[in-house]
Symmetry: C2
Subunit: 167 residues, 2 copies
């Protein structure tokens, strides 16, 4: 059975992105609230930049974009601190293989984070999908090797639906 997706992981090319951002911000507010933390203006601005697309974006790119909008240029550390808070809150993830950050566009459980990341090599769009079988197999292989795994990172490069069709 081809497990159906409630929402397609890759957004349609010309989709209305407004709701994506809005929902992400709402989830962020919720997540911070739930941990007794605050979605401050700084964190909100950083999150807005990250969530502005379905691409992974570098920390300095965020810095650059905010600087263009805001007349004052903040220090890198400010962006990194905001990113850390957003990562902890689970509303932003890090694409390790590219040292970049992307917004989590779905309301899922991130304790455990057993989701794989798909990154399109052509359009740079990033999506996450659940893959329990894959993680079970990874844990099994690790365990067979006498390894007690605590966290598995899976990042897949390839072509998203639209780019595969275009190619």
């Amino acid at each position: 059975m081809r497990r159906p997706q409630s929402a397609p992981p890759f957004p349609a090319p010309g989709h209305d992105h407004g709701p994506c951002v809005k929902e992400t911000l709402a989830r962020a507010a919720e997540a911070f609230e739930a941990n007794g933390l605050r979605l401050t203006p700084l964190r909100r601005r950083v999150l807005e930049e990250v969530a502005a697309s379905h691409h992974a974006i570098g920390a300095y790119e965020i810095l650059e974009r905010l600087a263009r909008k805001e007349t004052t240029r903040m220090a890198p550390i400010s962006v990194y601190r905001a990113l850390e808070a957003l990562l902890d809150a689970g509303v932003v993830h890090r694409l390790e293989s590219r040292n970049a950050y992307f917004a989590c566009h779905a309301r899922h459980d991130h304790s455990g984070a057993r989701r794989i990341v798909l990154a399109c090599e052509r359009c740079a769009t990033v999506a996450e999908v659940a893959a329990p079988v894959a993680f079970d197999a990874i844990d099994g292989a690790a365990s067979d090797a006498g390894f007690r795994s605590t966290r598995a990172l899976v990042e897949v490069a390839g072509l998203c639906t639209a780019c595969a069709a275009a190619a």
Copy 2:
């Protein structure tokens, strides 16, 4: 069936490391030869540093260790170029989640590279194991999402046999 390993992926704590290095160097010479390239002194020295342990090591750490041995300090670019050649030859891999490099201590097929990387959080030892089921599951999940995958990166953090026993 618990697929048996010809050699245990994690070396015994006090194992004789000499043969590991020797075999890795031999495989490197072979791999370069096969591609019409050369295992030059520089590349050999860099490889020796990487292969000196079963840990992942940073490029600048390699630079540092060579500088200590050699009176002359080379430029970072030299190490990076050597590493690139070694990566291409498949005798060194990169631990993406830590921006570090480790020697491949087994003679396996690198076209495709469907192996997962296990990195001990306590002793920093790195090992690779085959996990065809995991990669099949990853490809399946990607494909279900309409993603055509070309390369999957799997890095697992946890505790190796020895460290799990010690903990």
